[in-house]
């Protein structure tokens, strides 16, 4: 092959590679505008005020009640519950792995976390039905264990690997000099850990929690299977709920194309999209702060 031909191939492929980079921007933009256009169709047809202020999601009724509030409250409720379990558990585990565990133990435990991350969400949802649900029913003496508590436990399991991995990176990234300075000043191991190492890693820990929360908010199958599917405002953790994701999963398969109900599902999806995007951006902001702080 002569030189000019080789260079032509080189230039051509450079353009191909760049095009794929641009497509990723197009993809994110495409998802957003697809959601947005379909939701605008809903707001043009439906009742935008009722969407944000009403209290019922009941597409089957004659009036057709499309209020996001019960779904949004359910989503937030179950995700918050999962964080109450996963944040302490995840950060304690990450602390143990990075600061206390001997090397051999760490090489055994890290694959355990990766295996937990690899289990498909539908399998965890299945265990919510056959294992966690009956356990909750027995402990609290109720008929049915498919409720917000069940969903929170399962979502915590799903968010744990994310929280542990990122927290551990953040804790390990704290410079050794910080610890040495603290120990040299006479602080013991624990004071150093809790008053120097963990506070220095805090932005990274917040980033870990944000990304875990993003995962919990967007998870579909576990909450669809284990939370009982009742689209009402939740009053407690033993109430059945229905999240935004579960509502889309149940109703999109059966709804006729381009009806108000169809567009309403896109309208709740765009709200979910914006929330998860904001949570992820916030997580990224804290992760960047950690990077700058240690640079």
């Amino acid at each position: 092959m002569n030189a000019s031909k080789r260079e032509a191939i080189d230039r051509l492929l450079k353009m191909v590679f760049r095009a794929t980079g641009l497509v990723t921007i197009g993809l994110l933009g495409g998802i957003f505008f697809m959601l947005l256009f379909n939701s605008i169709a809903f707001f043009a047809k439906g009742n935008p005020i009722d969407f944000f202020t009403g209290s019922q999601w009941n597409p089957g009724s004659d009036a057709g009640n499309y209020s996001i509030l019960p779904l949004l409250a359910s989503t937030g409720f179950v995700a918050l519950g999962s964080m109450m379990i996963a944040v302490p558990l995840g950060i304690f585990t990450a602390t143990f792995l990075s600061e206390l565990a001997p090397d051999t133990l760490r090489t055994i435990l890290k694959p355990v976390i990766e295996m937990l991350a690899a289990i498909p969400s539908v399998a965890i949802g299945f265990l919510g039905i056959v294992l966690v649900g009956p356990a909750i029913a027995r402990v609290f003496g109720i008929q049915n264990g498919l409720n917000a508590l069940n969903g929170s436990i399962l979502l915590a399991i799903m968010a744990l690997p994310t929280i542990i991995t990122i927290s551990e990176d953040a804790i390990s990234a704290v410079p050794k000099t910080y610890k040495e300075a603290s120990l040299a000043l006479g602080a013991n191991k624990w004071a150093t850990l809790f008053q120097v190492t963990l506070p220095a890693a805090l932005p990274g820990l917040i980033a870990a929690v944000m990304l875990g929360l993003g995962r919990a908010l967007g998870e579909t199958m576990t909450v669809l299977m284990a939370t009982g599917n009742a689209a009402a405002l939740p009053k407690g953790f033993l109430d059945s709920i229905r999240t935004i994701t579960a509502t889309i999963a149940i109703e999109m398969g059966e709804v006729p194309y381009q009806t108000t109900h169809y567009f309403a599902l896109f309208a709740i999806a765009v709200v979910l999209f914006i929330i998860t995007l904001l949570i992820n951006l916030l997580g990224e902001f804290f992760a960047n702060r950690l990077r700058k702080f240690h640079a």
């Binding site: 080789r6 980079g21 497509v23 690899a118 539908v122 299945f126 889309i248």
Partner: protein
């Protein structure tokens, strides 16, 4: 005395949390495998369902998941690797590059059900591919893209610049350098990332719900424009939608065993490639 109690409590909390996380994995695996292994027979994985799903096997679901993973691979791997090559080999730090990176990070955070909606609007309706294994595979491909790009870029970053410089100094063009030197050396790393991503895609349910998965099809999926059965969806339907849920519970357990075994096998392959590559270096 008080100091000792505090030290004890610290250990108790930190070690206890770690053990609890391990116990969760243990409980999941022990429960599913102890109750599901007895259902997994040769008939179970080689026969189609029979008698309204209450008997028979899950062969169509296995074949469907293999089809799906194949289409996802064919679509997402070339695309993802090309994008990673652009980011690591060509792109200079600029606003555009930052926007691309930010898009990729945010795509990784988009809920999987929203990929399902996007696949429905784009592939099923706009491209008129219908509800088919092709639409579902492409949707899963989009979902996998950010992970493949990120892991591939990590693998490319580990190739020392001296190798690129040596090749360029010998007169190779940049593309030849990438094709003949950078990619072959980064291959084990890329492969690890790709396999881990695919193992994740194979277990996804939400993105395929509206793009082509079916609870039952007659026969096996044999072309890309057919609907298909998939293992994760089969578990979902057997455990929530079947008329006689208690009766099909062993089948749901068995299907979970097959799915988890498949996912773990892919993960082990990835770990093996990573381990072998490290010991060679």
């Amino acid at each position: 005395m008080k100091a000792r109690l505090i030290i004890f409590l610290n250990w108790f909390v930190l070690l206890g949390s770690t053990l609890l996380v391990c116990a969760v994995l243990g409980i999941i695996l022990v429960d599913i495998f102890s109750k599901g292994m007895s259902s997994v027979t040769w008939e179970f994985i080689s026969q189609p369902p029979a008698k309204g799903m209450t008997q028979g096997g899950i062969l169509p679901a296995i074949i469907g998941t293999l089809w799906l993973t194949l289409i996802t691979t064919l679509f997402a791997v070339p695309f993802g690797v090309a994008c990673a090559i652009y980011l690591n080999e060509y792109a200079f730090p600029s606003i555009l590059t930052n926007v691309i990176r930010a898009s990729i990070r945010n795509l990784a955070g988009v809920p999987s059900i929203i990929y399902g909606l996007f696949g429905l609007a784009l592939f099923v309706q706009a491209f008129r591919l219908g509800t088919s294994v092709l639409s579902a595979g492409l949707t899963l491909g989009l979902l996998s893209l950010p992970y493949i790009i990120t892991t591939t870029e990590e693998a490319l970053k580990r190739i020392p610049n001296s190798m690129r410089e040596a090749t360029l100094a010998l007169g190779a063009t940049q593309f030849e350098t990438i094709k003949d030197v950078v990619l072959p050396s980064a291959l084990p790393g890329i492969l690890t990332g790709v396999i881990l991503t695919l193992s994740r895609a194979a277990g996804e349910t939400a993105p395929i719900l509206f793009t082509g998965v079916a609870f039952y099809i007659n026969g096996l999926t044999s072309s890309v424009n057919q609907e298909f059965m998939a293992l994760p969806y089969h578990i979902y339907m057997l455990s929530t939608q079947h008329q006689s849920i208690e009766q099909v519970r062993p089948l749901a357990y068995g299907t979970s065993v097959v799915l988890i075994a498949m996912v773990f096998l892919l993960n082990l392959t990835a770990f093996y490639i990573r381990f072998k590559n490290r010991t060679q270096q």
